[in-house]
Symmetry: C2
Subunit: 167 residues, 2 copies
Amino acid sequence: MATQNVQNLTSSSEKYASSFNKGSLALPPAKKYLVVTCMDARIDPAAAFGIELGDAHVIRNAGGNAKDALRSILISQHLLGTREIILVKHTGCGMVTFTNTDALKVVAENQGVGVLSGTYDFQPFPDVEQGVRDDVEWLKSNGAVVKDSAISGWVYEVETGKTKQIV
Amino acid sequence: MATQNVQNLTSSSEKYASSFNKGSLALPPAKKYLVVTCMDARIDPAAAFGIELGDAHVIRNAGGNAKDALRSILISQHLLGTREIILVKHTGCGMVTFTNTDALKVVAENQGVGVLSGTYDFQPFPDVEQGVRDDVEWLKSNGAVVKDSAISGWVYEVETGKTKQIV
């Protein structure tokens, strides 16, 4: 039997398709940029960051983590021609609330000991603004990232809906 | 000087924040599900899949790749309580258009030989529907993924705006 979330996707999709008129957009992003941000449920990148359909790649993971996004960034840049990276972390991020030790303990309680290596790195980080600066620096010094890329770092405020540039 | 994309983010964000009234949403997704989909510029998950702000984690990478998303999925499930995974790949995906050899050649041309290991895996795949089935199977057999998770697999049609269930 379909879950409520599956039922919602099915009905929402039918409604969306019934008025859809953007079926001829090109594969490469029209505005040649990519956004890396967090998977957090309180972020709607298209609405909050003004991304029109077809304009930008949007990469999302736990923390808006640049290292975790590298494969996608390289494909976006080298195969699909993007030349600008906008990285957005956010206030109230879950990634600053736990350590690897905490997370490994919960996984072991839920799934059994040993399903993950004891050195598995969930990549938590202690400070959001410093995390933005560190990730931008890491991207700028990565030899595989296109050298003349514009790279900026931002914090989205889940409390206010504002997005502020950090670097 | 700010790029056009930075100027767009700044002005769009001000407008979004001026009517924002969802500043009190909880960190854990209200509907306890997560969506994995592609970074493709032609997909707006909130609109196309009916995701209300605060309801679901949204993980996006090149290909809507489950393996690449695993760190984020485990954090979503074990630390933030989600119990359902909806995986959506799409028609016209760039990931079916190149091989690792192709991609490594382009990176070497753009950045110089040796910036990536010759065994770097961009994780291209040859068929979208089979890719959905393979990723769902991989998630179901992964010992760290919560055992009683509902997991479904879908294809979004960039030509029509429709999303169809595969598995």
